[in-house]
Symmetry: C2
Subunit: 339 residues, 2 copies
């Protein structure tokens, strides 16, 4: 009933060291011995003590998952993907959230609580300031970013400029030239943010064609439906001749749809609206959008982090796949529920 390595070793008739090696499947153990030890351990129902192993080896087989929220489509899916990727190789994920309420500033990231606890960091969708990044770097742990990235560290995300251009090309095809943009509020704070990339894609498209894209043609307030609503209202006030709106996310687009409806505009005919994400709601509402797969991005990020912890270099930037989904909000598919 003494579930220790020593006991496994004793029963298998080997030393503790050999038992340890056998269970870790090190190549330096004779096949037969290895199997015997593993069988004995299995029969005993032996499980390793992670704390003892960590203490002796210095490796925790645990990563820290830093995220602003878990209750949002993008993040919860990234988390699921990452957890799956880690679990496959028996790594644990320690969850650290940094936001309590939308609209509130988040807690600062404190590297101390991470110290001696994890072998690596997966940082989701957080706009860290330079001090925070430096403090995290002081931990000397591999880290991988998802979403807003960092120049010095591997980042998984999507090509936000391409996303914007994909949407704009679609709108062009639909005959729209007076296209306003709703951005995320982090647009001007961080130039590595998705908001910045999407705004840049929109602006470049319009500029190259001599179309309206001055500062009155885009707007942002908060990063949710309310923000989308407000921005759309304002843009429609300023430019009643807008024929299309490209919103940086589906949530913002949904707010914009509400605004259009409040104005008595029929979405898909009177005005065209497109978002980015293809979250569950998008199909339901008939929202034209750019599809991305945060679950895969999470798994990908986990694999990159695993590789980095294994000493292998990871590419600095990895793009997830994106694809255009044409729906009723751009007038393309009449099977829809948008009013």
């Amino acid at each position: 009933m003494n579930q220790t390595l020593d006991e496994v070793a004793r029963r298998a008739g080997v030393s503790t060291a050999t038992a340890s090696r056998a269970l870790r499947d090190l190549p330096s153990v004779r096949g037969e011995t290895k199997e015997r030890v593993q069988r004995v351990a299995r029969d005993m129902g032996y499980v390793i003590s992670p704390s003892a192993s960590t203490l002796a080896s210095g490796r925790t087989r645990t990563i820290g998952l830093l995220t602003p929220w878990v209750n949002r489509w993008f993040f919860s899916n990234v988390i699921e993907g990452a957890e799956k990727g880690l679990r496959q190789v028996n790594f644990d994920a320690l969850l650290y959230t940094f936001h309590e309420a939308p609209g509130q500033p988040r807690n600062r990231v404190d590297p101390q609580v991470l110290r001696k606890r994890v072998d690596g960091l997966l940082i989701l969708g957080m706009q860290l300031d330079e001090d925070e990044v430096l403090s995290l770097e002081s931990l000397e742990l591999p880290m991988v970013f998802v979403g807003p990235g960092h120049l010095r560290h591997p980042t998984v995300g999507i090509d936000d400029f391409a996303v914007a251009q994909m949407i704009m090309a679609h709108l062009e095809e639909c005959g729209h030239t007076r296209v306003a943009h709703i951005a995320g509020p982090d647009l001007e704070q961080f130039d590595n943010s998705p908001s910045a990339g999407r705004h840049a894609g929109w602006k470049a498209w319009q500029e190259e064609r001599g179309r309206p894209c001055d500062d009155t043609w885009y707007h942002y307030s908060s990063f949710d439906r309310t923000g989308g609503f407000e921005s759309a209202m304002l843009l429609l006030d300023t430019h009643p001749d807008i024929t299309a709106i490209f919103a940086a996310t589906d949530d913002l687009a949904i707010g914009a749809i509400q605004a259009a409806q409040a104005r008595g505009l029929h979405v898909g005919t009177d005005i065209v609206i497109a978002g980015v994400d293809d979250e569950d709601l998008a199909a339901y509402l008939g929202l034209t959008t750019v599809h991305q797969n945060p679950r895969e991005q999470g798994q990908q990020a986990a694999e990159m982090l695993l590789a980095a912890m294994g000493g292998q270099p990871a590419p600095l930037v990895t793009f997830g796949e994106i694809s255009l989904v044409e729906r009723a909000s751009s007038g393309r598919n009449t099977v829809r529920l948008v009013n």
Copy 2:
């Protein structure tokens, strides 16, 4: 630069044992000594080694968070609440997910991977069979359930029978007697499921008043919008004289709304639909529902688990608050977006 307790002790001029006691704020240390040690530790930026502490004490200060999904409204909010409650007392949450895709059977819960890793278990929304519960109990760890509970263990949830009665009373008030029900697919597998409680509440209400509630008056397939859509279609086929539908969750209700619209029925006038949850979407779609707060339930459950790990007895059943939210789908509020 040697960030150990020994070093703290040396600098504070005390023994390792005293330093350990001081940092854990044990009462057996003289106030002055305690402060000195704590100050030294702070100045050094000392952080304890969790693995060493765990190895020596047998306590991990970590709990296992078992959940089918993280990407669903209810679960992600429970997780956020729980994580917050745990973080406040410096406990870590280890995430274990058990579903990859909706509709697929989940992985079985394996107690071995939890062994020696956690001090307690928070089990979210999982329908465990008796074997699984027994195997978890073999870990001899306190556990708290959220959602579908267990007779032998503390459970946080809502009073599902009351939820149903609350909705039914509202529908009654609106003049509905021919009320069909859409249940969750776990209705008949487990009698402790929310689906079972809500179904029972519906059935009791109808039965007591001599109203239709035989087996053709409720239906279920899958636990998502598609399931709600299918069930509603079927119910409307069987009983074209239905005037209201009570769906066990908002997601099911949303599917039912689609079905009604597909039939050319105007929701709120031709037919009334109500759900349960009050997830984000409900307000957006104007869905009448029963509000619950999974975030608070998660935090509550974390506190109960903490108490249980501290040896304090926890109540076997704790109900979260619920309240009726009347919206357009039951004809009560014309500010709405439902078609």
